[in-house]
Amino acid sequence: MRLTRRQALLGLVGASSVGGLGVYELLDRTATDATISDAGMNGLLTVADIVHPAAPEDVEPVISAYVGRLSHDRIRGVVRALSELDSRSRRHFGASFGALSRAQGERLLTTLGVNRVQSRPEGTLAERVRYHLVNAVLYALLTRPAGTELFGIGNPVGFPGGFGSHAGEP
């Protein structure tokens, strides 16, 4: 049977719409673990290295403590974003995201458009990376003296260090 042009077009539109929306919905509901592995922690430290100038040894305890207080849903978001970043990273650099240098990690995030999108808990990988990784790491660091002393702020907003700073020598 020979298809007419209209039949072929309608068939293709139907198939590609159903297929595309099916993939969209399926991947939107992908379940992930709610625990961050060591490799995942390294990924967060790579993000911190990219977005903040603090030394890694100062950053690690802050990030660990922050991640420990996150809800299960937030941790799932972090793990999902990190695992998808790992996949892209292995394709281009042959290593997981946590093993990348600062320059390589920055290049990968720029390619994904993380510097050009709004932060969003759901959406594309770029938007989720911005929300779950970049903004989370920045929040953790900029509400602790370990992340703000480099900028001359010893008692940042959100850090419960008021008593210490008032009681100490000026």
Partner: protein, 288 residues
């Protein structure tokens, strides 16, 4: 579907298996080479450019339609070898298949590429650019469908990558080594003289219009809806434009209107496939 010349070449036969294997191996070699190079050479943009984007057009020009299966196989092979096999593999393979297929089909609708002929050269570059724009739109569409990158990020980058990598690698094949190129090109009837005179290449115009329309509408919608979501409601209510807020339905349209992008892409991709695979009668009938 009337594109019988290509249709015949598409059917995989036992004799095309070595070709499929060779193209697959070429993809693997380039992917692994790119990865090795990214660890040694520190060129700012090199590490994130997918060098396999240089392969589809030259490979199809040289080897003919059977190489389409090789492109698909090569994509799966190189992604499996780099531990990045996933939904993105399908998107990448789809974009590469379209790039090669559309370039060769558009060239078939016009004339043989000639390096010495500036008009032929211009048509060749135009065909590659139009095919690259379509492949970039597929990348952007796929990026939204698999929740990887917004359309406005993926499509322009992919267009630059496909065009800049395809033209330099395909031109020598089409011009300097015409004898090699003609072996594969003849399978597409690229070098065959058309029985009827072309009437201003109408198919190229239609394909160009749909492709450019897709890239422009996709980009504007991708940026526009994301901005629209962040504008405070007061900006509309204070101007008696409350009805505009009815369009702000992220749960219905998906975050960043992802579902709408997927539907738009499905419709326009279908149009492009039909235009390429079933050209109108006005486009002339190739000799078989």
């Amino acid at each position: 579907m009337r594109n019988d010349g290509i249709d015949r070449g598409l059917r995989p036969g036992r004799d095309s298996l070595p070709l499929v294997g060779t193209v697959g191996a070429l993809y693997l070699l380039v992917a692994l080479g790119e990865r090795a190079l990214s660890g040694v050479v520190s060129v700012p943009a090199l590490s994130v450019v997918d060098l396999t984007a240089a392969l589809p057009v030259p490979v199809l020009l040289a080897a003919g339609p059977a190489a389409l299966w090789g492109i698909l196989f090569g994509h799966v092979l190189s992604d499996a070898a780099t531990s990045s096999l996933g939904p993105g593999t399908l998107v990448g393979a789809g974009a590469h298949l379209y790039l090669g297929y559309a370039t060769c089909t558009l060239l078939r609708r016009s004339d043989a590429p000639r390096a010495s002929d500036s008009a032929g050269l211009g048509r060749f570059v135009l065909a590659v650019a139009v095919a690259a724009a379509g492949a970039a739109a597929i990348s952007g569409w796929g990026g939204e469908a698999i929740h990887r990158t917004p359309f406005f990020v993926a499509a322009p980058a992919a267009f630059a990558e496909f065009t800049l990598l395809s033209v330099p690698f395909a031109l020598p094949l089409a011009g300097l080594f015409r004898r090699v190129a003609s072996a594969g090109a003849s399978a597409f009837d690229i070098t065959a003289a058309p029985r009827r005179r072309f009437d201003g290449h109408p198919d190229l115009r239609r394909v160009t219009a749909v492709t450019v329309g897709w890239v422009v509408v996709g980009t504007v919608a991708s940026v526009g809806y994301r901005m629209f979501e962040t504008v405070p409601a007061g900006a509309f209510t204070s101007r008696d434009l409350d009805f505009v807020l009815l369009l702000r339905q992220p749960t219905l349209f998906g975050p960043g209107a992802g579902r709408l992008q997927v539907l738009l892409g499905a419709v326009l991709l279908s149009f492009l496939v039909v235009l390429l695979a079933d050209p109108s009668d006005r486009g002339g009938t190739p000799v078989r």
